[in-house]
Point group: C2
Chain length 412, copies 2
Amino acid sequence: MALIVQKYGGTSVGSVERIRAVAERVASYHSSGHKLVVVVSAMAGETNRLLGLAREVSRSPSERESDALVASGEQVSAALLALALQDLGLKAASFLGHQVRISTDSAFGRARIQSIDKHRLLGALDRGLVAVVAGFQGVDGDNNITTLGRGGSDTTGVALAAALCADMCEIFTDVDGVYTSDPRIVPHAKKLARISYDEMLELASLGAKVLQIRSVEFAKRYRVPVHVRTSFGDAQGTIVVEEDEIMEDVLVSGVAHDRDQAKLTLLRVPDRPGLAARVFGPIAAAGIVVDMIIQNASADGTTDLTFTVPRGDFDKALSLVKGEEAALGAHGIATDTKVAKVSIVGLGMRSHAGVAARMFEVLAAEGINIQMISTSEIKISVVVDEKYTELAVRALHDTFVAPRPEEARSGA
Amino acid sequence: MALIVQKYGGTSVGSVERIRAVAERVASYHSSGHKLVVVVSAMAGETNRLLGLAREVSRSPSERESDALVASGEQVSAALLALALQDLGLKAASFLGHQVRISTDSAFGRARIQSIDKHRLLGALDRGLVAVVAGFQGVDGDNNITTLGRGGSDTTGVALAAALCADMCEIFTDVDGVYTSDPRIVPHAKKLARISYDEMLELASLGAKVLQIRSVEFAKRYRVPVHVRTSFGDAQGTIVVEEDEIMEDVLVSGVAHDRDQAKLTLLRVPDRPGLAARVFGPIAAAGIVVDMIIQNASADGTTDLTFTVPRGDFDKALSLVKGEEAALGAHGIATDTKVAKVSIVGLGMRSHAGVAARMFEVLAAEGINIQMISTSEIKISVVVDEKYTELAVRALHDTFVAPRPEEARSGA
């Protein structure tokens, strides 16, 4: 008998039929004697419908009211799931952020959980109830409704599992686990049975959008085992655990790619102290997340400063950089919005030299020019021309993860 | 400069366009210097949509979860109105029941307000905000979401006006006031400029469904002036005030009718002490509201006990009475589900004798048989065959309120 937190995403509760199917699954766990806390997202499409209404009444919807608005979506799905569970004869009750209570800061639309009061939920579990919790939402110190950002229900699930010292946090979603690469690009990509928090963090932040990255940070910090699995069947998915629970360190666990990249280069800037602060201060103030930064000093005392941003932020970033161009003494700005980032991730890299060199060889053999390089202990990322994305991913997967099956190779 | 509470019903906020129109109206009040608290219902149709979903996942939806579910409807309209107000340049914030905080008992689906914390709203008003409050909802002592029953947003509006000592509570709705009778039956019915709380209570409970009856009780208890008016124009509606603010006591303010009536008679029951308790105890326990009760003692020591219930409760009431029939020694049960109640209401009745006699004469002249009679200080109700409803209402309106115009009379 375990305490299990389950999280069901918007697709998994996207219709009355799906909600009933979730209730059946929860009931089968419950009949095995487990204590259950179930976190739900809004029904698929509901959050966007509500945000659409907001944009119809307001040219620039405020964050506080947008949060109060969209939080209603999880309220509906939580109440409906509680009703469906009761219809199966279980005792169940829904809980909103303010009822749990999930306390956050006041950063509307991207709030961070500060504390969770576990007593009300534990009391409900002790009385034999299934506790259904509205994901994605909390309340700040003034009892204003906050939301945790897109995918925030993952974080609700993991944070509750941490607060309640749950034995497992199961994330039910519309994919059946974490793959060694995108199966649309690499048809023979394999599902990983286990992956470490750190690898998952690198994969999530690199564009393998299975789990909200902050939920993984939470899981790592509080050592919550997370099982990512499909809600459309009983197949085992991928368990995200601590590194020491992974039997063998494979060299490369996965090959990720991210097309949401745009590149800006300040050309031949006089290399003075404070240059980077001057460039990135205004960009950070505008809320733009800069991904890779590379600076090459040259002998003449100038430097090329290159960085990447999400494509949606490209125009804003460019205008900010242009505003500083003259003051910095740059000789122009070069841009490229047709780039992609390709990365290999694996714990084994820490103890194996030469992985980076081998990666560059593979790409060179395919005639792919590397524009930027960035490395961490367990990952190597390169920025390449977007048109080479699939080619690079396949070549790296073949080399580091699993060779293409013979029939696929001969057919290529 | 006044403090005004406004309440807008579901039709008035039924679309994005309507919400924007409400925002314009609120803004015009605000620009006159008034402090404003605006209570909103769910967008028209939303509550029924949500209850439909509940019935799809559950054969018998529990009240706690149904309340949590439908309360989301007012959350959406409150946030949207706050956004629309902000878009017009006003400062505005939405508040839910638990944020205000509106404390109720735990009678889910029909909760009663126990107290309202006025400090957060007054603080918002002092900072120049328009406070938009989700109607219909509160929280009980355990922070469970409760709802106040159909039409509960009226009660929210009046209760807030009472708690905040507002100068006026304006109820904006899709009718333009309280009429002397149903204009569909009496085309020349007139809008009343003023009406007393007591008359409004009698009219509301008699089927003139303009205001939720509990909101009128609240208004009377706390002496809140209520202005019922249309949200589709600027016309003055009907102001519900204390009796001493009504200039002249008209004999009859209005003629009401109610077709939601079914009649049961226990025939020739031995008339013993405790009879009524024996009959009505189980009916009250089943939550059925009995309207009229008449008992005629006869010389042989038996009595006919007749009462009316809403038609939706008829089957349940009948089976409860049948359960007691033998024990009571009744000689059968007579029923009639095709009856209607027709009433005349007016403060002037208190000081004028002979109103009842005149009413019975008018009905007799039209050949209408009176089945039951019930009177209070300011109203007289009769139960008649349903098919006479319109005829009775028109005849009484012609006699007591305003004669039919000549052209209508000659055309009849």
